[in-house]
Amino acid sequence: MSWIEIKNLQSVALHDIPRLKVEVLRDQLIEKIRSGKRLVQFFGDKDNGDVVLYAIAADDNSSKLFIASTKFTSQKEYQSITPEIPSAHLFEREFFEQYKIKPEGHPWLKPLRKGIAGVDSSEIPYEFFSMKGEEVHEVGVGPIHAGIIEPGHFRFSCHGEKIYHLEIKLGFQHRGVEYLFVKNNARPLYLQKLSESIAGDTVIGHSGTFARAIESLSNTSIPRRAKLIRTIALELERMAIHLGDLSALSNDVGYLTGNSVFGALRTRIINTTMAICGNRFGRSLIIPGGVNFDISPELGEKISSTVNQVNDETALAAEVLFSSASVLERFEKTGVVDKATAIEIGMVGPSARASGVALDIRSDHPFGAYEFFPVHKLTLDSGDVFARSYIRFIEIQQSVKIINDQLGNFTEGETNKPVQPLEPNRLVVSLVEGWRGEIAHVIITGNDNKIKRIKIKDPSFHNWFAVSLSVRDEGISDFPLCNKSFNLSYSGFDL
């Protein structure tokens, strides 16, 4: 039996999803990933007391998604996929933690998040990797950090100032987001608010991903004007965060000019988002069926002139930043992740593109207005902090172009439509290229036309491991810089 083939945002009936034997699913998944496909989701769902495991692989060249499933009735273990496919590493740990079905031979089987409902954390003790040898020492940082940083524990195995290995333990922000979605599935407004709170820096990204999934499941086709406004909001979010990151990266190397200039530019962009919807991070803007706020012609002009000004000033500031010898000395050849590694561990987003992986959901699995405005995929080769900074700069310029395109193509019309009830027993995969990379929400509906299971994946889920790899053989004092160059979300990972 072959896997069912769908596209982004195309819902599929549950009974159409092939149910394979676990060994067959494993072999076919390995074969798919080896032939260049990418593991997008790998998660379980309870089905009348049994556990159903869904695996979703993406073929980015042909914009296709492949889905298959397997059922565990009494079986409590299966052979791990991770030794063959490293990018399955965290997915398998998550599946084990949530359903207690053990991947045999998983090389790194530890709890993923603290205090998952139903799993006593003492059942699977967390053991840190330890390194032995003379003069080897461990440095533990967190989970409580100085400054405004989310909680996470970083354990460095060092020799002098040199990092040999970094282990990252997360889960301190676990709020049970997926559980809350199912528990409150009769309250649409609550769900929309919840989707905005998955990761505070990706409000537009996550709320848009969720809204699109709901629209697909309810066969709602949203007005074109709403699509344009969503696209503008998503690109504004990308610009704002990228500018903030350039500011923070400058700060981490003590470069005052970059820190203050980019920080000021970011404020102008988030204030533009506020002019649209009244909130600087775009809360309440997106609802299933469209958007809550319209962009008037005057506001459109204001947005256009602001982003163009910001674009000019960013170009000036970036020229100074990226030609400053003292900054380049810190950025270049620091925290390198090469292309082969990036593909192997399944990196996504600007960090992957900075390592030469041409992956951009806006172009590979287009959604919303991107279906009509193809996005050119930007990549850089060096995979170091410099590449991850520079790609932010060129993506800001690209976002400005996209926003101007959208503003130039405004059509009259409504901004939202009422949403019909969800169709029962279906599954939809919603992929969106947020500023950090691929956001993937999978929603399964039950008999009652409500959400039965939602699987949320923030891009951070793939990229945290890249942070660990990037700091190997680097000085421990360069860790904050490497970490910031990825700028991953703790709450998006912990859910």
Binding site: V139, A146, G147, G254, N259, E329, R330, D478, P480, L481
Partner: protein, 304 residues
């Protein structure tokens, strides 16, 4: 009368750190806090209580006091034009260097006393860098002793006159060298970033993480004072001995002001060095002072 300049210096250090912060704020496009802000912070800290970690011993508690005492003692050895220094004896620059060394040693001990891996790391960095600085400092003083044939600060600076011939070159080399010492000892960019909140990248800041209240105030004061002391050395080097009192003292104050302005500019315009490259930067100080020493030795022998 003789003590008035000394007293002015004793109360001035925070004015200079306030000045650095003001320069940086203006570069960043901000209005910035008042130049007096470090004083407000100081008095706020002095009024506060202290939290002392249970894992520490008495070393932790006496360190900050010894640090500030040793630093003030070091200040007393540095001459001010016409006023001279409070303590002067042959070879007093060795005493000066060890007074600063003692203050650093106590801070390193206190950092190790806390048992924190961060502070141990900071202490190891601080110790490494100051070893290099100390050697270079002795080469600087050796050059000046060779040039003037004197062996105390007071005597050296009262006859020092580097405004003609090859001594101008020596002067430039030594001033740059001392400026690097100031950046390193004062924990400023590009050696250390006084504003960072990232423990892993800190040097000086991480060593004092466990301090609070009056002890922290003392440490902040001692660090600022150390920078003033080194900038006083620079000023002494730049002021020729033939000036009158009315010329020398304003010039002295102006040079201190200028040095801190330059520190502010440096912090605004360049990024911090990678820690593994910091020793190379500090070794520049050694190279410059060795060159100065060689130039003096060469010309004292009669030149070509």
């Amino acid at each position: 009368m003789r003590y008035i300049p000394f007293i002015l210096i004793i109360i001035s250090p925070f004015l200079f750190t306030g000045l650095i912060n003001k320069v940086k704020a203006i570069w960043a496009g901000r209005k910035g806090a008042s130049v007096l802000q470090p004083y407000y912070d100081f008095f706020k800290l002095v009024r506060k209580g202290e939290v002392i970690s249970k894992t520490t011993s008495f070393v932790f508690q006496i360190s900050s006091s010894i640090n500030i005492a040793a630093t003030i003692f070091a200040l007393m050895i540095i001459p001010i034009p016409f006023a001279g220094s409070i303590i002067s004896l042959p070879g007093d620059f060795v005493l000066f260097s060890y007074a600063l060394g003692l203050s650093k040693f106590m801070m390193i001990l206190a950092a190790l006393d806390t048992g924190s891996s961060f502070e141990g790391m900071g202490a190891s960095r601080e110790a490494t860098f100051s070893t290099i600085v100390e050697t270079a400092f002795f080469i600087i003083m050796g050059s000046l002793a060779l040039l003037t044939n004197q062996i105390s600060f007071n005597a050296i600076f009262s006859v020092l006159n580097m405004s003609a011939g090859y001594t101008v070159l020596v002067k430039i080399l030594l001033v740059v060298s001392l400026f690097i010492m100031l950046l390193s000892e004062g924990s400023r960019l590009p050696v250390d970033d006084p504003n960072t909140h990232l423990e892993l990248t800190m040097i000086h800041e991480v060593m004092i993480l466990d301090y609070s209240g009056p002890d922290l105030a003392f440490i902040l004061y001692a660090t600022s004072l150390k920078m003033v002391i080194i900038s006083m050395l620079i000023a002494n080097l730049l002021i020729p001995s033939f000036l009158t009192l009315a010329e020398a003292l304003p010039l002295f104050a102006f040079i201190l002001f200028l040095v801190f302005m330059v520190v502010g500019f440096v912090e605004s315009l360049i990024a911090r060095l990678r820690i593994s490259h910091v020793p190379q930067f500090i070794f520049l100080m050694t190279a410059l002072s060795l060159t100065a020493f060689a130039v003096i030795a060469f010309f004292l022998r009669g030149g070509f």
